[in-house]
């Protein structure tokens, strides 16, 4: 029989019924739940623009995108459930602040340009973070990520295209696009987490084959991917230190404000309270519906 250590060493897949260390299980539950929560909280900043989308085509694209995010949340909660937890308990942990979601969704979406910018930068950063997870050691998580990454790459292209229409539109539309980039650039870089020098769980996650690349490596990959795209958009990245480094074959960039990241993660970002309050309110308002569905199912009603 193959041991857990052997599977990890062979870069194989750990499956739900396999023996695994308790810490491995707990780490995965925490990470997958946080990922699922990010998908569903992430519906809020963009979802607010569906009714105001400036063309029916953009409206359809945005509606489909936000629906995809709900679907991603569903796959991820299902992946977490294979580890022996219950979705309702994970949601309770979200509602009471015991589990977190991506810091990025604690920033407000102020204009229509934010929708395109979120697609371009936030989904772009998510792809950089998530593509390596398709090879993560835990089978159900890795398989969920394959499907999610395909959809995220659509979202990223749609965001870019939407922003391109603005940056090549009227001067007011261009200014709106630049303003959105100015506000979202640094929070997007924070999505890769604290610097390697201050990332406490990274080493163990790497040893377990959950994490394949360090935070700083992925952040650099994102910057290198995104700088040429900003040039195509004709928008300026708000970083005076941004410069091509011939020797490294990469872009040098300025210092990320990790103190701000720590504040947002600690619950003191611009929209933390609002996001959770919205989620808790929706949950409370739907309680009678879920109770009725449960009562109906228990009474043997044909579902």
């Amino acid at each position: 029989m193959t041991t857990f250590e052997q599977v990890i060493e062979d870069l194989g897949r750990v499956e739900p019924r396999d023996a695994m260390p308790d810490d491995y299980r707990a780490t995965l539950i925490r990470q997958i739940a946080q990922h699922a929560h990010s998908e569903i909280i992430g519906m809020q900043p963009e979802g607010a623009w569906i009714t105001r989308a400036p063309s029916l085509r953009r409206k359809a694209i945005l509606l489909a995108k936000v629906q995809d995010e709900a679907g991603h949340g569903l796959y991820l909660y299902a992946a977490a459930e294979t580890l022996g937890v219950d979705r309702a308990d994970l949601l309770d942990a979200l509602h009471t602040g015991r589990q977190k979601y991506s810091s990025i969704f604690n920033y407000p979406s102020l204009t229509w340009a934010d929708v395109g910018t979120i697609g371009w930068l936030v989904d772009g950063a998510a792809i950089v973070n998530q593509v390596p997870l398709c090879r993560c050691s835990y089978g159900p998580y890795a398989r969920a990520m394959v499907r999610i990454c395909k959809e995220e790459s659509f979202h990223q292209r749609q965001g870019f295209e939407s922003l391109h229409a603005l940056s090549h539109g009227t001067p007011e539309q261009h200014a709106m696009a630049q303003d959105a980039l100015d506000r979202w650039w640094w929070p997007a870089l924070m999505m890769f987490g604290p610097p390697d020098s201050a990332s406490p769980n990274s080493e163990r996650s790497t040893a377990w084959g959950i994490k394949r690349f360090s935070n700083d490596t992925l952040r650099q990959r994102f910057v290198d991917m995104t700088v040429p795209q900003a040039a195509v958009l004709g928008l300026r990245i708000p970083d005076d230190d941004l410069a091509w480094n011939e020797e490294r074959g990469s872009w040098d960039f300025g210092e990320v404000d990790f103190a701000e990241l720590a504040e947002v993660v600690a619950g003191r970002g611009p929209c933390n309270a609002e996001r959770i309050a919205h989620k808790v309110r929706a949950d409370a308002e739907g309680a009678w519906v879920r109770e009725a569905a449960d009562a109906y199912a228990a009474s043997g009603g044909a579902r």
């Binding site: 009714t51 400036p54 063309s55 936000v66 739907g286 009678w288 519906v289 009562a295 109906y296």
Partner: protein, 250 residues
């Protein structure tokens, strides 16, 4: 510029027919567009994740139907208009949607009752239009009827669950039915499709052990372009971005 039917028409009679077809198309299109708007207000606040996905999916289907129908209606307009011209620039009193779909969401029971009634109505209309002489409308109807059959079934299942789930869900369904029924009656005439629609709804309500409300016709129906202030509010929100940037493309 693609030619319009009016220009193609051999005589004034055809131009008149095109105008009435256009108004008929706008009724179908606007029902779908405005219902989609209301359903998309549920995004990120549905009772659970599965329902969030389902309501967004229905909203997306309805938006797709609205786009096909508005595109067609726009081509029948002289000069030709796009789907976005019709959605974003048309005055509220030229909207032909049923008032039923413009009313505010309320609770989930109201949304389910309204979806049940709308989907039952659309199902019969689209089913009949599959054999319309107008091939383009027939094709739109053939695609849409499949989508609406799913919406109708989704609403039916929730009506059963909520009708006999708990005392609270039943009370909310009764309240919602009493409030929405007159707006549904306002839409119905006495042709075969309308009778069939009524019959289907009555059967569902019977199975859900919910009483069929007494018929009462609310006014306006919405079909003649007279609406409630709720439609103005929807259009103001829909046009918030475009109104601030006249002439821009997106």
């Amino acid at each position: 510029m693609p030619s319009t039917r009016c220009e193609d028409g051999p005589d004034a009679g055809t131009a008149g027919a095109a105008a009435s077809d256009r108004i008929y198309l706008l009724g179908l299109a606007d029902d779908a567009l405005i219902a989609s708007h209301r359903l998309s207000e549920w995004v990120a606040r549905a009772p659970d994740l599965e329902e969030d996905i389902a309501l967004a999916n229905i909203a997306l289907d309805l938006l797709g139907q609205a786009r096909m129908l508005l595109g067609y209606a726009g081509e029948l307009t002289d000069p030709v208009l796009t789907e976005d011209d019709l959605a974003y620039l048309r005055p509220a009193d030229e909207f032909r949607n049923a008032v039923l779909v413009e009313r505010p969401n309320g609770d989930f029971a109201v949304t389910i009752v309204r979806l049940l009634l709308l989907a039952a109505y659309q199902y019969e209309l689209y089913a009949g239009l599959r054999t319309a002489a107008d091939a383009r409308l027939a094709a739109i109807a053939a695609k849409s009827v499949k989508e609406v059959a799913y919406h109708r079934d989704h609403a039916r299942l929730w009506t059963l669950r909520l009708g006999s789930g708990t005392a609270e869900s039943r009370r909310r369904m009764e309240t919602a039915l009493a409030a929405e029924w007159p707006w549904f009656c306002a839409l119905l005439g006495d042709d075969r499709a309308d009778r069939s629609c009524r019959h289907w709804v009555a059967e569902v309500l019977g199975t859900a052990t919910l009483e069929l409300p007494e018929d009462r016709v609310a006014t306006p129906s919405g079909r003649d372009g007279v609406h409630t202030p709720d439609l103005d509010a929807i259009l103001a929100e829909m046009r918030e971005v475009t109104a601030a940037h006249p002439g821009a493309t997106w």
